[in-house]
């Protein structure tokens, strides 16, 4: 195993020791033992920047199931490095924050850090895996650890609901994604992403192409909370705030983004991909930013804001895929991919800090409800400053990093208008329009977040605690993130040259040679362009919308609750549960007769269908023996006997009729020259009838005695059908026999080899003696069973004990 692999498994290994540390070192907050790991990993990954900047990649392989060609292959390029740095960097800050956020005495810290480390390791596995199957393994592990973290306070009903919802939705997507992966590996005949990318252009005409595309996109959309699968994210806000900051804003929800970015070179040639990724992204951006403004819970606002920003990144990736359709020289769509990875990074910084700020407000005032908060600016000046930086960056205002990526976002959206393929020349106008509208709402909720929490008058009577500034340890992590927001805002090229350019190169794999083209776009981040006027428009309209917000607020109440996706999700679950229950109730009646009807009907249906489809109708009449008079008489007798069992009013008559059938069978055996059978049949029929009479004698007296049975039409139809099907199959198979019996051997060798003259007996004990042995066993077991049933009785006390 290489150091890279050790870096990937380190979180899992540390997770093993967390409970010991928690149990035995009670005086120190467990988080302090965790903190060194992500910090060390962060600096470890920093070292890869040199390699990646040279547009080189690192691949390390450890075999897992070599016979199935499954390996743990770690692969570092620009994109996975960007994600790894985010995961470990923000991971370190979140651990630091959680040390101050979670109390040592009250919380089950060992649970928290085990889950968090599991998540961190899984997330590193997702972004570093080159193998589709191991990628899926880590993907599911992030879902599971996220489920555990959301339900961290498992005694709360809302936590459990949120955890279940996120589990159902992300697992649903994950499973479909696995299907997509399998389709992809069938097409490419490999599981390795690198190898798939290498001959990606040949896939477009494969029949499985669209299937793989749709399934993988469903996986990515559910994980990254895209429309209409975003509904789990707001409910996941029941998790502790460090978890929300880490999983549900900076890392896990970007796993879908990662997947889309990673597989872009494979699917980009399809118009379906561009429309689905771009279209879903832009719709999610608009819809979630619209909904974010109606939230009254701070974390609710941030959750919808996250959904909206993820939509933004997704739409940029969709537009970025257009780059594959144009020549390099005139390629104006590369900027979209650059904007996507840039905003991905920016969003992680400002959203992480905002979540931490909200956690601080919650921690220090006891509420996250904006209707009860207000005027905290003077009480919590540090927190306010950080929140202001984060919000302004989120709103896309200069001089913060959100402004730069928002500007590039507008650039990319405007360039869609220049596309002339896939009906983008007509419908493409939707992209800039929705993007602009979404930005106005983003501006609105960013300002609502600030003004409702920190501005206005301070009303301590509404708060659960005496509000005061947070301890410096808690402020440290958001301060660092806010600092990053400002630094990237002023000197973006530090970041873009080192990390973003290789990431863009990785996303647009194979489109251009290392180093050329991308740098140009990064340098051009200012100038009087239409984007600037769009931003000015956002600020102007956004201010108006913000000022008049109380007036048009009522619009949200007009949104029909019944059409909301949450309502649909809840109804769907309820309906499925009720539906399957009703279905079970309906067909599992508990009555043996019903099940027999199912079985008989299935037999009739299957056999008659196969008779009709496959029946061999070339009948050889010569095979049939001539009809004899005695047999006819016996046939009449046996039919009469069977008929009597059916119609007789009393049970005694039925039993005797059954006996008559049995004796007639014995007579048939006589007629068809089977003396041993006739003997056995006579004896056994006699014993059976005696047993039947025993049962009859012990019947309960209370009811049914001597009473007739009503005729049932269904039963009659099924019975006749069974009889007809059996007869037909017997007739067809007898009329058509491809080869002769093997019995001539027995006739010739019964005396020669086995020293007997009765062929049947010699077959039973000599040629095929094994059958007889086990038939004896059957009789022995039956005898023992009968003895047991009659002798062994459970007493009342034993019954009660049971």
């Amino acid at each position: 195993m290489s150091t890279l692999h050790w870096a990937m498994v380190a979180p899992f290994m540390l997770a093993l020791f967390v409970p010991f540390l928690y149990k035995h070192v009670r005086s120190i907050h467990t988080g302090w033992f965790i903190l060194p790991l992500p910090v060390a990993l962060f600096f470890y990954f920093i070292r890869y920047m040199d390699i990646v900047q040279q547009y080189e990649t690192v691949t390390e392989t450890v075999p897992w199931i070599p016979s199935l060609n499954i390996h743990f292959t770690a692969y570092v390029d620009g994109l996975s490095l960007l994600f790894s740095l985010l995961i470990t960097g923000i991971g370190s800050l979140v651990v630091l924050y959680s040390i101050y956020y979670l109390e040592k005495e009250k919380e089950k810290l060992h649970h928290f850090y085990v889950y968090l480390l599991l998540f961190m390791g899984a997330m590193l596995g997702v972004v570093l895996s080159d193998h589709l199957i191991t990628l899926y393994l880590f993907w599911e592990l992030t879902s599971i650890s996220s489920f555990l973290l959301i339900a961290y306070w498992y005694k709360r009903e809302r936590s459990r609901y949120g955890a279940k919802k996120s589990m159902l939705i992300t697992m649903f997507g994950g499973l479909l994604m696995l299907g997509g992966f399998l389709a992809l590996s069938v097409m490419g005949d490999t599981y390795s992403i690198r190898e798939l990318l290498a001959h990606s252009s040949t896939f477009v005409n494969e029949p499985l192409f669209s299937v793989a595309l749709l399934l993988i996109l469903l996986g990515a959309f559910t994980k990254s909370a895209q429309f209409p699968f975003y509904i789990w994210l707001p409910d996941a806000m029941e998790a502790p705030t460090p978890v929300s900051a880490y999983l549900h804003s900076a890392t896990m929800v970007k796993a879908g983004i990662y997947l889309v970015a990673r597989l872009t070179p494979i699917f980009a040639l399809s118009p379906l991909w561009i429309w689905l990724v771009g279209g879903t992204g832009i719709v999610t951006l608009f819809w979630a930013s619209f909904l974010a403004s109606r939230q009254t819970d701070l974390k609710g606002i941030l959750a919808y804001s996250t959904v909206s920003q993820l939509g933004l990144i997704m739409s940029l990736l969709g537009i970025g895929a257009l780059a594959f359709h144009y020549n390099f020289a005139e390629n104006i769509f590369i900027v979209a991919t650059l904007a996507a990875v840039f905003h991905l990074f920016n969003h992680a910084t400002f959203k992480g800090s905002l979540f931490m700020v909200v956690g601080i407000v919650d921690h220090e005032t006891g509420t996250r409800d904006i209707r009860r908060l207000g005027g905290l600016m003077t009480v919590m000046p540090m927190t306010f400053t950080i929140a202001l930086i984060g919000s302004l960056s989120m709103a896309g205002l200069p001089p913060f990093n959100g402004f730069l990526s928002k500007e590039m976002f507008f650039t990319a959206m405007l360039r869609v208008l220049e596309a002339d393929i896939f009906s983008l020349e007509t419908w493409g106008i939707l992209f800039p329009v929705l993007a602009w509208c979404g930005s106005v709402f983003t501006f609105l909720y960013s300002f609502l977040l600030i003004s409702k929490t920190f501005l206005g008058e301070y009303r301590p009577e509404r708060l659960e605690k005496e509000a005061h500034e947070a301890p410096v340890g808690m402020l440290l992590a958001p301060m660092l993130l806010a600092l990053l927001v400002i630094v990237i805002g002023f000197v973006p090229n530090i970041l873009s040259d080192t990390v973003l350019a290789p990431a863009v190169y990785a996303v647009l794999n194979g489109l251009f040679k290392p180093g050329e083209g991308v740098d140009v776009h990064i340098a051009h981040w200012h100038g009087w362009t239409p984007e600037v006027f769009m931003t000015l428009g956002v600020i102007a309209v956004g201010t108006v919308v913000y000022k008049t917000f109380p007036k048009w607020n009522g619009v949200y109440r007009r949104l029909p609750e019944r059409l909301s996706l949450n309502h649909l999700y809840n109804r769907l679950l309820e309906w499925m549960e009720k539906g399957s229950f009703a279905l079970n109730e309906r067909y599992m009646t508990g009555s043996v007769r019903t099940y027999l009807i199912y079985i008989f009907t299935a037999i009739i249906a299957l056999l008659s269908v196969s008779i009709v489809l496959k029946g061999q109708w070339n009948i050889e009449i010569s095979r049939f023996a001539p009809v004899g008079i005695y047999e006819i008489v016996l046939a009449v007798v046996i039919v009469a006997g069977a008929l009597t069992t059916l119609v007789s009013k009393s049970r005694l008559t039925s039993i005797i009729a059954l006996g008559s059938v049995g004796y007639t069978v014995a007579l048939f055996f006589v007629l068809f020259r089977a003396p041993d059978l006739a003997l056995t049949q006579l004896v056994i029929e006699t014993i059976s009838v005696a047993l039947f009479l025993l049962c009859f004698y012990h019947l309960p007296k209370l009811r049914d005695h001597g009473k007739g049975y009503s005729f049932k039409l269904t039963n009659a139809i099924i019975s006749i059908a069974v009889g007809v099907v059996v007869s037909t199959i017997a007739f067809l198979s007898h009329a058509y026999k491809p080869f002769e019996s093997i019995s001539q051997y027995y006739v010739e060798n019964t005396y020669e080899k086995a020293a007997g003259k009765n062929m049947v007996n010699v077959i039973l004990v000599d040629f095929r003696g094994f059958d007889t042995l086990f038939e004896i066993c059957v009789l022995a077991i039956a005898a023992l069973g009968i003895y047991g049933m009659i002798k062994l009785r459970m007493t009342k006390e034993e019954k009660l004990e049971k």
């Binding site: 049939f624 009809v627 003259k757």
Partner: protein, 113 residues
């Protein structure tokens, strides 16, 4: 001849099915009895009902009937007898314990699950 037997067997199967679909446990057991008779006759018929001596070498005949289906039937008769006897005693015991032979009344209770 086989055609006659096949029709008779079909009738036995139909009667057995009808009885097995009824409510009374005793009728169900009678149905299984008819069903095994039908199956045994079917075995014999499908082996062929051509003329020939009984399968005893002392007969010194030109042709014998096929001995193999007879051996199979003999095994089947004994096994079905074992099972029927067990089934009958089971029915007798359930009469004793439950006081009913109505299949519709023999259902598990919710609390037994």
């Amino acid at each position: 001849m086989e055609l006659v037997m096949i029709i008779v067997i079909g009738f036995l199967f139909a009667a057995a099915t009808y009885l097995m679909l009824s409510k009374s446990l005793l009728r169900i057991i009678i149905g299984t009895g008819l069903l095994s008779h039908g199956a045994h006759l079917l075995l014999l018929t499908m082996g062929g009902l051509k003329e020939g001596a009984p399968p005893l070498l002392g007969e010194h005949a030109e042709r014998y009937v096929d001995p193999l289906p007879q051996a199979l039937i003999l095994t089947a008769i004994v096994i079905s007898f074992g099972v029927t006897a067990f089934f009958l005693v089971l029915a007798y015991r359930s009469y004793q314990e439950l006081g009913t032979d109505n299949m519709e009344q023999m259902r598990g209770k919710e609390e037994d699950d």
